[in-house]
Amino acid sequence: MNFFSKLMQLDRRWVYLLLVIVCLSAYYADFTVPTIVENETKAIYDFIEALEPGEIIFVAVDYDPSSQAELHPMTYALVEHAFRKDLKVIFTALSQNGPGMVDQALRDLTDSLKLPKTYNGIFYEGKEIVNGVDYTFLGYKPYYAIVITAMGQDYRILFPSDYYGTPLDSIPMMKRVHNYDDISLLVDISSGSITDAWISYGQGKFDFPLALGLTGVMTAQYYPFLQSKQIMGLMGGLLGAAQYEHLADNPGLAKDGMRVQLPAHLLIILFIIIGNVGYLVTRYRERKI
């Protein structure tokens, strides 16, 4: 058996092992990779940067723990940016296991925001974010298409109370807030088909500025909505999260993860080349025989 025939029958577990070694080596190695920011991520950052304190953004956390690797860093970077700018945030979680994601993010961000920090040369005092004053978490309701449509009339139709059971009318920041007309931006951070509903039933029907934060698998198929201006910005996968962290001058898990992505991608490209060469050579030899 020659080299290329052996290559074609290589146990896939060797590939996994090599990938693990490369990823671990890159993770523990001390180096950085430059972050090139794309316009679609910058559009979201610039939009939030231009908002006045007190304005409200709506963050739809539509992902489960299985996608938190890519999407949690986006939520953390974007929401921390919003809170540092004294914006108010309404959260929903229209994915089944999403409420836990919001809960975790809020707990971590509450701790992080207590510390004074400097971002892009601007000093921000530490602050306590208060439920009902700085943010409202509406929670989860099933059948997202109907929920999104109903919220266009009034959040109270399906969310008479927030996730923690407080009636919406008794929440200070929600007193004069009724529907999408009262928000400045809606960011859907999603790992599934809920994004389609936000585009069709939300933005398409009620015409509010919509930005998306998506898993890598989904990203390519949503670029046409950027072209048609149905969405104003797009963050794709861990790269999108890293770009936002870079813009907000708040490096976190995403930027750290991009160091590992680079050698891992190089290795996979190498595997693709070797695999194709092996396949072509084997086929060529079989034809000759």
Partner: protein, 276 residues
């Protein structure tokens, strides 16, 4: 980190490693993690659905007065209609009366379809068509950077690529000559699209692995050995014991598998599948 918190973190670390062990081969630890995940997800969802939807959106509406009076004493008594429709769904469990469940289903599908068709048509077909038909931006043909969305070059490429891809799927004419060349460009456009999706997918899968490395290192490993008291005020000597206990489980399993592999080498007539 409290000891109980670390206990749960250790359990999460064990589950992470158990799932990764599937890359070698299916095993009881992976099976345990898989079943636990499915069970916990289902249980969590039921509780979220009950407390997040059914109680505030239905039962509370029907229970303005005493619970035993339910809708009789409720100011929003019409919520009894969806309640009945919901109960009708359970008729599926009984063969003779399963037809009853078709009524609420019919209503649900009717509402969903009525809502979906005009909005989907307007936003996923018409808006995309309009975007395709907009004049090419000749004033900023190359954009500010390479292939900016909205630059003339990008718009032209999308327009030509879409037409060519449609030509590729037009089978009433043989793909030869100029028509064939356009179809060929169409297939290249499709391949570029698939390539972009594949690249993003690779990034997504690696991201999941990176996240687990970060979890095992920062949340588990560093917490286990952080005796300084600065970041871990509630440091406990048992942290390290738990940390090593998990690794010991996987080490024992690795030795067991290695011995099995050596034994199988002695018996070439019974080769073991190597496919993970």
């Amino acid at each position: 980190m409290e000891f109980t918190t670390f206990l749960w973190t250790t359990f999460a670390a064990f589950l992470t490693l158990a799932v990764f062990s599937f890359l070698y081969k299916d095993n009881p630890m992976y099976k345990f993690a898989e079943h636990l995940f499915v069970g916990v997800s289902a249980g969590y969802f039921v509780i979220i659905l009950w407390h997040g939807a059914l109680v505030p959106n239905l039962f509370k509406k029907l229970a303005d007065g005493d619970w035993y009076l339910l809708w009789l004493n409720a100011s929003e008594w019409w919520y009894f209609v969806p309640f009945i429709l919901g109960v009708m769904m359970f008729a599926r469990f009984f063969k003779k009366s399963s037809w009853i469940s078709r009524w609420p289903l019919a209503m649900y599908i009717g509402i969903s379809t009525g809502l979906a068709i005009p909005l989907e048509m307007a936003n996923r077909v018409n808006r995309q068509l309009w975007a395709m038909m907009e004049p090419i931006n000749w004033s900023s043909f190359w954009g500010e950077r390479y292939l900016d969305i909205g630059s003339g070059y990008s718009e032209l490429l999308i327009f030509v690529g879409t037409i060519a891809a449609l030509v590729y799927f037009f089978f009433s004419k043989a793909h030869t000559g100029a028509f064939g060349a356009v179809a060929k460009f169409g297939i290249w456009t499709l391949m570029l699209g698939f390539g972009a999706s594949f690249g993003f997918t690779v990034m997504a899968r690696i991201s999941l692995f990176i996240n687990r490395i970060q979890f095992l290192d920062i949340n588990w490993g560093q917490a286990a050995f952080d005796a300084s008291g600065t970041a871990n005020e509630n440091y406990h000597a048992g942290f390290q014991a738990l940390f090593w206990a998990v690794w010991l489980i996987f080490l024992v399993y690795a030795v067991f598998e290695f011995k099995k592999y050596l034994n199988s080498k002695d018996k070439p007539s019974q080769p073991e599948s190597t496919q993970a």
